[in-house]
C-alpha cells in the first residue's frame, strides 16, 4: 500500500462518486458523461466534475472519442469517455503484502513443476469457498470479485481477481483459476453448468456454460 492508494480511496468517500465509479466499472467499456449522469440520476455537469475527480485519483481513465463512430469531418465533436483503470489499488491496515508472497509461491510451483498439484489445491479451495458461502454461483463469484455478467447465454467474468499474478504466471494462474471455478461448481452441487477456459483480452479467462448445450 502506498499513501497514493489511501488517497485514492478517500476520493470515494462521496456517495455520488461511489455511484459513478460503480456504474463505470460495471459497464466494462467506455462510458460517456451523459450516460453516467443518466444512470446515477445526477446532473451532467456534476457527473463530469466527479468523473474527473475519479480520473485525478487514478481510479478511472479518460479519453476523447467520437461517439458517432465516424471519423473525420462530420463525425461530430469527440466526447470525453471514462473507464476503470486496470491497475488495482490496495489498502490494508495494518499493511499486508500477500501479493509478493503469491508471486514467490507461483515461482516455486514453476520450479517444482507442481502445476497439477496446484490445480488440485485450487479445486479443493473452490469447493470449500462455495460450501462456506452457501449461495448461488453468481453470488459466490461476486463475493470473490469476479464481476459476472451474462452474454449469449453464458456467464462471463469481467474482472480477473488475480490480475497481477495472471500477468506474471499466466498459464499457471489461469489453470488454477479454472480449477478453482470448477471446485466452486462442485461445492455448490451445481451439475448443470461447466466452467471452461475462454479468455479474452482484459477479462477473466473462465466462462460458464450450461452443460446441456456444451457444443460450440
Amino acid at each position: 500500500m502506498t499513501s497514493d492508494d489511501l488517497e485514492s480511496m478517500t476520493v470515494l468517500g462521496d456517495p455520488v462518486r461511489r455511484a459513478l465509479y460503480r456504474f463505470v466499472a460495471e459497464q466494462g467499456r467506455d462510458v460517456s458523461r451523459n450516460e453516467a449522469a443518466e444512470a446515477t440520476g445526477v446532473q451532467r455537469t456534476l457527473a463530469a466534475h466527479h468523473l474527473d475527480k475519479l480520473v485525478e485519483a487514478g481510479l478511472l481513465e479518460s479519453r476523447f472519442k467520437r461517439l458517432s463512430g465516424k471519423a473525420g469531418p462530420g463525425g461530430g465533436r469527440p466526447a470525453k469517455v471514462y473507464r476503470r483503470v486496470r491497475e488495482e489499488r490496495t489498502v490494508s491496515l495494518p499493511p499486508r503484502d500477500y501479493r509478493t508472497l503469491a508471486l514467490v509461491l507461483a515461482e516455486t510451483v514453476d520450479l517444482l513443476g507442481g502445476e497439477e498439484k496446484a490445480e488440485q489445491a485450487a479445486r479443493r479451495t473452490g469447493e470449500r469457498l462455495a460450501a462456506s458461502d452457501a449461495a448461488d454461483l453468481p453470488e459466490v463469484l461476486r463475493a470473490r470479485g469476479y464481476e459476472p455478467y451474462e452474454e449469449d447465454g453464458r456467464v462471463r467474468l469481467r474482472n480477473c481477481p488475480f490480475h497481477v499474478l495472471a500477468e506474471s504466471h499466466p498459464l499457471l494462474v489461469c489453470s488454477m483459476n479454472l480449477a478453482l471455478c470448477e471446485g466452486m461448481l462442485a461445492g455448490l452441487g451445481e451439475t448443470g453448468v461447466v466452467a471452461t477456459l475462454d479468455p479474452r483480452p482484459g477479462e477473466c479467462c473462465v466462462a460458464f456454460t450450461s452443460s446441456k448445450n456444451n457444443v460450440d
Binding site: 513443476g113 497439477e116 499466466p170 498459464l171 489453470s175 477456459l197 475462454d198 479468455p199 483480452p201 479467462c205
Partner: protein
C-alpha cells in the same frame, strides 16, 4: 520493429501415435485464431495443411513454431488471451516438461521473416546467457529501443 517468437516442444510420443491426435486436431482451429489475430504478421509454414509441421534437423520428437507479431501486447493476447490458452494448458499431455527455456523472442526489422537457424541461435543465446535485448521472454522483456542500439540486430550471431 516487429517481434519474432520461437517455441520448441519435445513430444512424449511420436506424432503418429493416438496420444497426439488431440494436439494435431487442435492445430487447424488455433491457426485460424492466430492468423486472424490483431497484430499477427507471419508464421513459418511447411505446407498448406495445418498439420504440416515445420521440418528441421533437430530430430523427429521436436515440434517448432516460429511467428512474427507487431508487438508484445498482440502476441501476448494471442498466446494467453485466446483459445490458444486451453491448448497450452493441456501441453503436458503431449510434451515433456523441460527445465531449459523453450520459448524466445527477439526484435526483427519489419519485413524480415526470420529463418529457422536465426531463431534457434536466439534460443541458444537465451539458454546460454539468460535474457537480454537480443533474446528474451515475456517475463524478462526488452523493448525494441533496447534492441535498436545493437549493431544490425537481425545479423547477430549468424
Amino acid at each position: 520493429m516487429h517481434l519474432a517468437q520461437l517455441n520448441v516442444a519435445h513430444l512424449r510420443e511420436p506424432l503418429d501415435s493416438p496420444a497426439l491426435t488431440d494436439f494435431l486436431d487442435a492445430l487447424a482451429p488455433i491457426y485460424q485464431v492466430s492468423d486472424a489475430a490483431p497484430g499477427f504478421v507471419w508464421r513459418m509454414k511447411e505446407g498448406d495443411e495445418p498439420t504440416d509441421l515445420i521440418q528441421h534437423d533437430y530430430g523427429p520428437m521436436l515440434v517448432v513454431n516460429l511467428s512474427v507479431w507487431e508487438s508484445r501486447e498482440t502476441l501476448w493476447n494471442f498466446v494467453y488471451r485466446s483459445a490458444h490458452l486451453e491448448v497450452m494448458r493441456r501441453r503436458r499431455e503431449w510434451f515433456h516438461r523441460i527445465a531449459e527455456p523453450y520459448t524466445v523472442m527477439w526484435w526483427v526489422p519489419e519485413g524480415h521473416l526470420p529463418p529457422l537457424d536465426e531463431a534457434v541461435a536466439r534460443l541458444d543465446l537465451l539458454r546460454a546467457q539468460g535474457p537480454g535485448p537480443e533474446a528474451f521472454t515475456f517475463k524478462d522483456f526488452y523493448d525494441s529501443s533496447d534492441a535498436a542500439c545493437l549493431p544490425a540486430a537481425a545479423e547477430v550471431r549468424k
